[in-house]
Symmetry: C2
Subunit: 119 residues, 2 copies
């Protein structure tokens, strides 16, 4: 297997941080002006992103990286997660990295098995 690209290294470091339930460390890889397209809609800015990430990390009981590829600026990863409500909840993330932080992210996962978020 080839060495990971710079962007892939950042995506993996971010993944391992939140997988270890270390939200502060994970947020160190997130740009202040991140724009994230998630199944639930667009998330803009690090504060909003943390409000999206932290509750999810709170229900994660296990993770497994399935594949990680990328080039200098872009990384695409797919991983599986175990969560309290859903045994297997895989996701994919396409991220753009600038100066070691994620500036843009597109996240795909299946919301159907999850209970609806609080309104």
């Amino acid at each position: 297997m080839n060495a990971h690209s710079a962007a892939t290294e950042t995506a993996l470091a971010y993944f391992h941080a939140w997988s270890g339930h270390d939200v502060d460390k994970a947020m160190a890889y997130i740009a202040d002006d991140i724009v994230c397209e998630s199944p639930g809609g667009r998330i803009e800015g690090a504060d909003a992103y943390r409000a999206f990430l932290e509750p999810f990390v709170g229900i994660v009981t296990g993770t497994r990286m399935l594949a990680a590829f990328g080039d200098e600026r872009t990384a695409l990863v797919m991983y599986d997660t175990s969560t309290l409500p859903v045994t297997s909840a895989p996701a994919a993330e396409l991220v753009t990295v600038r100066d070691g932080v994620i500036t843009n992210s597109r996240i795909i996962f299946d919301r159907l098995p999850f209970p609806p978020p609080p309104q």
Copy 2:
């Protein structure tokens, strides 16, 4: 950008075939004994896979590849689709390729915006 890997070329050829509503051509890239993990469960064999793919292709009105990476045996792609019921329905696929056909596939998309499949 680097040249695509062999597996990525297969994943892209498969994508372009079904994007063009050519299910027969798409199925030429699918192994007879394909095993696919989809949000709705495991799909085994080309007949079952076609029964999964064909109704989806029937509602697709547009597609856009967002990223495609891989190595000799594995490809990971993310694309957006426009469909009759859902304007933007992105998906990610992790595929294993053997002799130019996809033998294993993991597909992630958000089922929530789609109407439930017929029982």
